[in-house]
Symmetry: C2
Subunit: 344 residues, 2 copies
């Protein structure tokens, strides 16, 4: 898979056209996904390699993306560390227990990811068999900061009062928690790569809730620690710092690709990195709820920003919305496949 379109684009090599995949492409907008989901709950799907692999491969068969991403959830890591997770898909995931004291941190088990998350590695291996080398498989994990936010808050939050109070009141404790999570994520991602993933993406979904100096201290340093420890595998590493406003601070990160959300002007980000990083994104997922004309004109406007340049992977700026009509995402993917060579 080293010579696949997607991997070459990640490596900032010139490609014949722009590769395209979308976040949450194994998801509810697909009737074939919903058919599986009707029979099994979300976590059962994550934990049953056959089901996970089935829905991982669906968007490749049905839509024809240039990369697959393993169907899973970032919160399987905190669960493996000892928290009890439940997922109500309409409400988002939540933990029954939370991490709010030193003794809560003591109780977390940062080792043993390989055993406890063996179901993910099995799903990776099975997906690779089903994909038959058609496209590469992306593995992923949550960034330690994002996982810590969930573990301390117990679920998604509006003001993130608890995790932010922790870093303000007790930064030493916050760093101890983040250090432990970093160990687990590093081990988990290493296992995913060893099981066969061709690239990995680190999702920092709550990057945007920290001002830049705190983002550096409480998130980026841990992302960097993980990257340094998995870099030797030689596969592309993508970071998605959702919501950050100062992309300059990502210059110190040795990832290959930065995923850019839809609120950001990707042309401004391109100027900051001047070819030193590949960029991924950043179409607004809501565009896919509109009509063909609008979808094509937005796709053209993003492609135009990388005209005569390499270094772009087409993607949305956030996960594809469950309401997205399948014909609209098909239209987008076919448009990129058939037309992006004109911009290269």
């Amino acid at each position: 898979m080293k010579n696949s379109l997607f991997i070459r684009a990640c490596r900032n090599e010139a490609t014949e056209r722009t590769p395209v995949w979308v976040m949450r492409q194994a998801g509810r907008y697909l009737p074939e996904y919903r058919a599986v989901r009707d029979k099994y709950d979300f976590l059962t799907m994550c934990k049953t390699p056959e089901l996970s692999a089935e829905v991982t491969v669906q968007p490749i068969d049905i839509i024809g993306f240039d990369a697959a991403i393993i169907f899973s959830d970032i919160l399987v890591v905190p669960e493996a560390m000892g928290l009890k997770l439940h997922v109500v898909e309409s409400e988002g995931p939540a933990f029954d227990n939370t991490v709010r004291s030193d003794s809560d941190i003591d109780k977390l088990d940062s080792a043993g990811m390989r055993d406890k998350l063996d179901y993910v590695y099995k799903a990776v291996k099975l997906s690779k068999i089903l994909l038959k080398d058609r496209v590469p498989l992306i593995g992923f994990a949550g960034a330690p900061w994002t996982l810590a936010s969930y573990m301390v808050e117990g679920k998604g939050s509006k003001n993130f009062e608890r995790i932010k109070s922790l870093i303000y009141k007790n930064p030493v404790m916050a760093h101890r928690l983040l250090g432990k999570i970093t160990e687990s994520v590093t081990d988990y991602l290493s296992g995913k790569i060893e099981a066969g993933c061709d690239a990995v993406q680190i999702f920092d979904s709550w990057a945007g809730i920290l001002p830049p100096h705190l983002y550096k201290e409480f998130s980026l340093r841990y992302i960097n620690e993980i990257i340094l420890k998995i870099k030797h595998y030689g596969i592309p590493i993508i970071v998605f710092p959702r919501g950050i406003r100062y992309f300059e601070i990502m210059k110190d990160t040795s990832c290959d690709v930065i995923s850019v959300d839809w609120e950001t002007d990707i042309l401004a980000v391109k100027k900051i990195f001047a070819g030193t990083k590949v960029l991924q994104g950043n179409m607004d997922p809501v565009i896919l709820l509109s009509n063909g004309e609008k979808i094509i004109s937005e796709a053209q406007s993003i492609l135009e920003k990388f005209k005569n340049d390499k270094g772009h992977i087409f993607n949305l700026g956030h996960g594809i919305l469950p309401k997205t009509p399948v014909e609209n995402i098909k239209l987008l993917v076919n448009f990129i496949k058939d037309n992006s060579h004109k911009y290269h």
Copy 2:
């Protein structure tokens, strides 16, 4: 009030110390506010001039801020235009009816703000009497984009799929709605100023959900339209573009003050404007849940950024949290009052 500390700071004049007030200062963190709120629901408080004025003045009496802000809600304008509003304080406000078609827009009444919102003007006049010229009174309104988002979605939203689908699918209809709201907001703010407000703040709470080119087209142009029409009153105009990432685009706005949220590096924003705009903010409200030492060190770090410079009004980057201990906000305000002269 033209020579008050706060107004002089808004006008970018040199002041002996930094003025301080906080958003939602008339709010639930105050036991005296909760005592009123226990007896009346939120909207009754907004619509009863005596109650609104009472809670407007409370934080001046109890904490000693350098400006008062009239107790009200940005959604009284859409209500006056014809929507039915209900507010459950813990869940946020919501409308029983929404605006999703051309005929919904036809039905909106953009005139008649002066009659329908007379209760606000009465509250302003009463507050001015109770304030006895101790501090200036700030009036406010929602930006048309933020109000339109609420009117189309019906309430706060996660993905803002409906308002964004409207601008993508039917920009002409979106502009018609925004134009009508702009008329109402302009009339409403003019009435507030005529009733006695000494400054106004335009809250664009959902500024951050648009990328920069769409923010210009669907929000900033309407904010500018309002400013041009109220500028002749000669009072300071503050804009709070919550969540925007590209402050450069605010250079074209003739407001006096820009309020800066806590996710932003206010020093970077200061460099962009180089003294041409006064900045307000940007302490993280969660800091006020920590301890005295942390509160002081954060306050010092913000004051330090404006050392030997005028052009800063101390405030939080978002509304004060209901859980904030009263002694913590008192500590902050007293610290600013007693120490900010050292930075001037």
